[in-house]
Symmetry: C3
Subunit: 138 residues, 3 copies
Amino acid sequence: MIFRQKEIEIKAPKRGFFLITDKILESIEISDIKVGIMNLFLKHTSASLSINENASPDVRIDMEEISSKLIPDGYFYNHSLEGEDDMPAHFKSSMFGVSLNIPITNGNLNLGIWQGIYLNEHRNYPTTRKIVITISGV
Amino acid sequence: MIFRQKEIEIKAPKRGFFLITDKILESIEISDIKVGIMNLFLKHTSASLSINENASPDVRIDMEEISSKLIPDGYFYNHSLEGEDDMPAHFKSSMFGVSLNIPITNGNLNLGIWQGIYLNEHRNYPTTRKIVITISGV
Amino acid sequence: MIFRQKEIEIKAPKRGFFLITDKILESIEISDIKVGIMNLFLKHTSASLSINENASPDVRIDMEEISSKLIPDGYFYNHSLEGEDDMPAHFKSSMFGVSLNIPITNGNLNLGIWQGIYLNEHRNYPTTRKIVITISGV
């Protein structure tokens, strides 16, 4: 039985949706795990993690446009002290979630062929984001 | 300590939200686990998994209608090459998520009395979907 | 290897978003776990769990206002028998999710400094909600 944990830092180049699958995979060893789960946990409330399409950059652009049209920036929220993008960022963080659980099979992440891990940065001026990676398995 | 994993395939009859609790339960053994977690992971980016009401078929119809009103089909997305339902499907997949974690207690899934597991098919022409089931427990 | 489970009950004072981090922490022992995961699972389909900002009460108010503007109450849903707030509650429950996975590190929940655990009550007249807490770790 293996339990393994590591905290990493990632900074998005700008607001938007970014593929971080490679960064996650190079940060922690999973090749010795036959059956298990990788948990990713983002320690922030104005960004999020999700699984989405790993091929077309247009999908990442659309994810930003659709989510920011659904939950528009503005100073009309009660919580507006930290900027017009802050409350929408909190909402998106809960809508997409800050935690992912991905199966490990025979030493590899068992993602679908089109799946990638996204860091979704919802603030206009990104800061460094911390992600805790926890592996459990046998 | 038990770690057990199985990959299954399900095809929705059409676009929409479908109860798959029975299909999951008949696919893997959990009766020997006293305390544990079942992880379900859908290996696709245009469908999703969620927990919702298991009794009224109207809830499944409304889930489809509300989500498709929120994120309408259309060719106005950047990513429209694969059809007017494709980008909305990617968005819904991240909004609802592709992974579920359900507690196991005394050999059974510890779902609430009204809870069922849904496969949410967001494409007009469903294809076969793969779900990895991972059990951990004692 | 530790697997530990407990079911607790919480009742929100009214419809809305409420911090329950302290209630969760006082309900189960985690101080003996060096590396692990806490899973929270809400056994209901008209409420949800999420991680969000733990400081400003305005964020909780905005979460309620934004989500209820996105998915308005009404009798225009197919499933309206249980009230105008019932179907929107089911949708929000799947949008935010009923399950959280939070890393445990050196005997503590490894939350970000601004993160708290929310119970999101989506019904007008709250009932007692059951949450299953499952701890795994070493």
